[in-house]
Symmetry: C2
Subunit: 95 residues, 2 copies
């Protein structure tokens, strides 16, 4: 028996790390007439589906991927966000 679980991995620049995209957004705000917005940080959001026996096994796969492939641990942090089970495939017994 196995099921599909959907996750999001939110990757954000660590505190103190220069974030050129965030600065670019911040500098464009006056041209849009927007005030009172600050501390803009631009990161990535990766959504993916994992096939596994249960939610814990699926989350372990996502944690592994997030640390090894989806983020650069020197300059980025990440947070795994479960989005729920999407469907189930049950291998029934053959009569």
């Amino acid at each position: 028996m196995s099921a599909s679980f959907r996750f999001a991995v939110n990757v954000t620049p660590k505190a103190g790390i220069l974030d050129p995209q965030g600065r670019a957004v911040e500098q464009s705000l006056p041209h849009l007439g927007v005030t009172g917005v600050s501390a803009i940080r631009v990161g990535r959001r990766v959504e993916l589906t994992v096939e596994a026996v249960d939610a814990a096994a699926a989350e372990a796969v996502v944690e592994h991927l997030a640390g090894e492939l989806l983020s650069n641990p020197l300059i980025e942090g990440y947070q795994v966000e479960p989005l729920g089970a999407t469907s189930s495939t049950v291998a029934g017994a053959v009569p």
Copy 2:
């Protein structure tokens, strides 16, 4: 009186739109020995702080920015996620 509210804007490619970054991640999985992962979509996550009189006013500013500056409505969708009030500055009456 005004307060600071922190938000995240999750920008993701619309369904059916080609996502080269997602495909690149998917194609690198076999080299890492990872199986059972599919439907990978890579988007952006923008976190920002808004100074406003209340949470509703702050969210209105974020919605405006998300649609006008942070996403490309032709190919991307977005979702605003409140991260809570971060601090308060109250202009007290001078005695």
